[in-house]
Amino acid sequence: MKKIFYIFYKDFSSELRMRFALNALIMFVVVAVSTILFSLGSESVAPNVYAGMFWVVVFFSAMSGLSRVFVSEEERGTTLILSLIANPVTVFLGKFLFNLVLIFFINSVIALLYMFLFQEFLIQNWNSFLLAYVLGNFGISASSTIIAAIISKANVKGTLYPVLAFPVLLPLILMLIEITKSAMEGNPISDVEAELLVLISYDVVMITASILVFDIIWRD
């Protein structure tokens, strides 16, 4: 249990020193959001378009930053040492925790930017939006961690990552867009009950499957 936090802390402090993933993420978010802002101008857009654009930015920023956890180990050649120190489940949970913190941070930045820059991005039902936000972050970081582990051994890491992640994350993104749209329209939380249950089961399936499969990927 303690080792999970050690692995998390190791990644966290090395990230603070280099800010490799963080800079890539923030640059991406700033570029994407300002492009949307300039192209929209003063036009008014339907809530589902805003919800879609919000999660598209989240998805691609996750794609550009979250693969670092395993790719950096591979590049520095520290994979072997890490596998000697801790057992696979611990390694996975430590990396998962780090990605979770990263995606929570970047998602908050995106949400705040959207709320500041777009007057029409008004969340009327905070309960359902926050639930979707938390569950969505868990799902994104679970699947992106396991996919990062898979691609870290491959030669073409950059392109393989979004290609593999897209089909896995698609149901999650669809549900998140639906809930965000409903939250912007101010519908009660009971309207999106089915979508929220899909999110919960997606998270549980992804986390358990990742823990089971990670053994095999890690020892390879």
Partner: protein
């Protein structure tokens, strides 16, 4: 070691089932009974026939289009659609409206019209024209 896979597998199977069950529920359902449409208060696709006797009002300034729909059991419902009148609305045999029933009116976000077939036999009296 083996037990871990069994437990994990069961958890995955149970939640996968839950996931697919709820995933099918997220689709918007078709409803041909207006009494049910009025009771649920959820977003659905109501199918009915346009009530010609009550005609329709079109407000171009506010971009609203108001008309009445009737289902198979002769229940009538007022529909407000934010948009312009769809093509072929007058000759449509069936109208499908997507939206929600609120405060005695159906607020539609989408109107689909089903047009009579061009390829019907000569002696058949088309119901739409």
């Amino acid at each position: 070691m083996k037990a871990r896979y069994y437990i994990g597998g069961t958890i995955i199977l149970v939640f996968l089932g839950l996931l697919f069950y709820n995933f099918t529920r997220t689709n918007i359902e078709y409803e041909s009974d207006f009494v049910k449409v009025m009771q649920t208060g959820k977003t659905c696709k109501a199918t009915g026939v346009w009530v010609k006797e009550k005609s329709f009002q079109e407000d171009i300034q506010n971009r609203t289009f108001v008309f009445y729909l009737r289902d198979a059991n002769n229940n009538e419902m007022k529909v407000i659609y934010r948009g312009t009148k769809p093509n072929n609305f007058e000759i449509a045999t069936n109208v499908v409206v997507t939206g929600k029933f609120e405060n005695g009116v159906f607020h539609a976000t989408d109107v689909l019209t089903k047009c009579p077939s061009k390829y019907e036999g000569q002696n058949v009296n088309t119901s739409g024209s």
